[in-house]
Symmetry: none
DNA sequence: GATCTGATCGAAGGGATCGTTG
DNA sequence: TCCAACGATCCCTTCGATCAGA
């Protein structure tokens, strides 16, 4: 996400062009400028600019689907510690069930805080492929470890890593990183999990 | 100057349309949108030097009218609890039935206490779209919750939150906030409810 | 818990920037 | 010495709630 400043009247004009309740500035401007949506664009680029691998990637994607034999791990074992402690039942934010859904989601796009998007992405990645996620969770930095099943583990592997729980998941992540690193972490993780290059890029850029 | 967030590719596209070195985002967008320069615009608007909002409001009204598809929920259920309890029968201030009406209302504008305006706005928002209001009621701060159906709930989620009942509504709000935060709360709430950006701004600024 | 409003200032969170390491 | 990758300090923003002011 980029931020730009507009003169007030111009801002008002653009806002007044809202057609669907809740539209983002990007949505409105794309329409006004008669630009294709992000995805259309992304696809075009994938084919023309990038490389010929797009075909390959598509094939890869199929492979993935077929190989989806994953056994759901006994997350229950870990889920035993949940929030009963917490007073007000945390309203379960219904996240989409797949990442490509998530990154297209209106609400998701409107989130301005990148940590939030980061966590939600991780949450959905886990939901899709818990086993692969768990395996990919090994990725780490020079001194810090990125993922763990306890806050303490992350805390003890660096200073002020700002661990955060990944909702609906037994994992925690470090959070004291710039956005670039968050993208790297997503990229590494998804690569490890076996996602196609194109999707990985799309997800990383969505932060 | 207003700030908006754009998706990265859109930002890049706009930046790439620079024709004169040093052009601002506003300059570029005006050209792309084939809009007159600020001066031309300013003259047109000149009618209302003070609050440039008159134009805004007009435009806003149109948007809203079209989108008025919301189903009115059985507010009667709640209307059963009215004020008979209260000592001095509060003269039921007949609030307008829609927010844009409310914020244009003479009486409303004359209210100097922002809490009062804050509550009235909430009351009208509820009247317009009870269901959406209820859903949007989830918004909260870091420690405090902002809305609840009981005073106690608000009291227990922070210290001295000064809960107040929102008239003609099953909800309570916290009130121990500065005006800026009250505006934020309105902004968040209305956004969540799906109101167009322009109206949201107008309402927030009316506090 | 009882005066009420809300600005001010302190606390916490987010993440860019800059220092460190290999 | 320089470069790339990584770490985490620290600045800025957002939020909370005390307490000044009426």
């Amino acid at each position: 996400m980029k931020t730009i400043e507009l003169e007030d009247d111009l801002y008002r004009y653009i806002a007044s062009q809202t057609q669907d309740i809740g539209e983002s500035a990007s949505d409105i401007l794309r329409r006004l400028l008669a630009l294709p949506t992000e995805h259309a664009t992304a696809n075009k680029n994938a084919v023309s600019v990038e490389d010929s691998s797009s075909l390959l990637e598509r094939a890869t994607e199929q492979n993935r689907v077929e190989s989806q034999v994953v056994v759901s791990s006994p997350s229950s074992v870990i889920e035993t510690n949940p929030a009963v402690v917490v007073d007000l039942a945390p309203i379960v934010t219904n996240l989409p069930a797949s990442i490509d859904k998530l990154i297209k989601d209106k609400e998701f796009k409107n989130i301005s805080v990148s940590v939030t998007k980061f966590i939600q992405i991780l949450s959905v990645l886990y939901a899709e492929h818990p086993t692969e996620f768990q395996a990919a969770t090994e990725i780490k930095g020079r001194k810090r470890i990125y993922f763990a099943k306890s806050e303490k583990a992350l805390l003890s592997a660096g200073s002020t890593t700002k661990p955060r729980k990944i909702e609906h998941t037994p994992f925690w992540v470090i959070t004291n990183t710039n956005t670039g690193r968050k993208r790297n972490m997503i990229t590494q993780l998804m690569a490890e999990m076996g996602y196609p290059h194109s999707l990985i890029d799309a997800v990383s850029q969505s932060i």
